[in-house]
Symmetry: C2
Amino acid sequence: MSYFLLDDYANMEPYLPGEQPAGKWIKLNANESMLPPSPAVKKIFDEAEYDGMGFYSDPHCHKLRIAIGDVYGFDEKNIFVGNGADEVLAFCMMSFFRKGMKIAFPDITYDFYRTYATTYGLDFKQFPVNDDFTINVDDYVNYDGDVVLANPNNPTGLAISVDDIERIVKKNPERMVIIDEAYIDYGGESCVPLVRKYNNLLVVQTFSKSRALAGARIGFAIANEDIISDMNKIKFAFNPFNMSTLAIDAGSAAARDVDYWKKCINEVRRTRDDFKKDLRKLGFKVIDTETNFVFITHPNYRAEYIFAELRKRHILVRHYNQERIVNYLRITVGSFDVMLKVLYALKDIVGDPDESTYK
Amino acid sequence: MSYFLLDDYANMEPYLPGEQPAGKWIKLNANESMLPPSPAVKKIFDEAEYDGMGFYSDPHCHKLRIAIGDVYGFDEKNIFVGNGADEVLAFCMMSFFRKGMKIAFPDITYDFYRTYATTYGLDFKQFPVNDDFTINVDDYVNYDGDVVLANPNNPTGLAISVDDIERIVKKNPERMVIIDEAYIDYGGESCVPLVRKYNNLLVVQTFSKSRALAGARIGFAIANEDIISDMNKIKFAFNPFNMSTLAIDAGSAAARDVDYWKKCINEVRRTRDDFKKDLRKLGFKVIDTETNFVFITHPNYRAEYIFAELRKRHILVRHYNQERIVNYLRITVGSFDVMLKVLYALKDIVGDPDESTYK
């Protein structure tokens, strides 16, 4: 730590990114897409005006905001874009949350909320999810602060209904409700239409999952136009030209290729549902995820053991050192062929459920 | 403004980006490069692993930090990278400056410092530059707070010496000194070597000027390893995967193509020096810039008039509504052919210096 670091950050924890090992791995630990992005994105890269790369990108990101607005039926004034959903969330936090302000989220959820809240000194409350990992919506309805929820939740993959979200939003118009819909395209119902009705709702989505552009860093928020305008002002005083020309162009192309996007989503859902069935045959308890990942546990084998055994076979999945889910694994749903390999590996590890012993 | 915007931002001013008009313009208002980026960057785009775009970028940006470190003779631990120098500056401010902390910069300089300081509530002091636009270094040596200086300065193009910077840095090791060297490649002497000697110096540079990658958004800082580590921790809690895979790859390729980079710099310097001579022949007073732009005024014509006349001819330059420089124009140095066009236009506007009348 340098002499200069603000003591505001005394509680900051070191960041532990997911493993990115070198060499040949089946990487199923970050819920990335194994399908390529839209062919329209390939065209953007192929035709990228390399000579024009010397000119600044559009700080308003009009083209991308208009494209997203068109797809979701909103004006660009309702759309904020950033380098991934994390940056969008961070600009939201920076605009509307100061040190000491109250915010609630589940004990088991996307870890970025806790990381941000800890580092930047928010007064956060983590409501425990139920034993079946469902969220107790009343915890948030009755809470006297702001709320951030991943829906479907990560890593459990469970979704809450739009009616439940509306209950939280409606209960207190002075409370901001942030719904992180990173995985909504794979299942569950989006609460984006509620934005027309409520000024205290901000919905965040990403191009890193269903649009297969995690490496291009594109995320967005849909909210009331005043909220978006505030976030843009904050962005303009922090990093006006936040997105590159290629990210803006690639994102616009991917957004507008709705047919390809839906095709990819359907393919992942089909593979996921098959994979879930096969996992159950191997004796796994499979949470009923609506995402591009599964969340599983086995009655006879510790998750840590299965994780290590998969690792030996160069298959990387996600294991959490968090008490309530220490015996669970999160596995991204890749292509059909890849998931077949994973199934064979798992069968090799846990064997026939009737013959297995606890390891 | 939404109900939710923090009143911390009461002093926030709306951002006014430089004009980006549609249609065919000679755009000389943002000091962009008119030369293409390194051919090595073209190769990166051509061979971009479009299929791999679905995977997250490296949150540590190792490849780019190592490439920059190799060029400047530092370990990657001394290098921080971000989406443009603005983001690098913003993460620096966010890590080391809280509301109410003191920071000084000149009254005439890059406007981002004031925008950031106003929005995020720093107690900033703007020391007036001298009448000839030179900086009075003692103002900063004797100041009892932190310092940010663009060197060479923008829009004046004037540089201070490394000895002067060392005086500011050395005077008080508890003061952080940020030197923004966006234009250093075109002239002046870089203070990067001082980083080995002082723990309170942070030098910011950019790929948006001499490396012709403004549209790709790449900036970096060189500083003591503890300072860089702090900034990375803050970044990891704000937006871990801040840079795209393509920005990391393109930046690495551009950094390593040192020969092409030097060639481009020399070309711009030659064009600049010719342009300066010709401007003087037209009666302009030309500040002795060491950058890829000139800063000029004419004894007989108001800058606003020349600006408007150039605009009519579809040539866009920069005019400032700031009292002390209201009669100056900043013009980016483009290619030789482009600057010839600009000269003809200016000759058309201001005519022969001996015959002109004040307009």
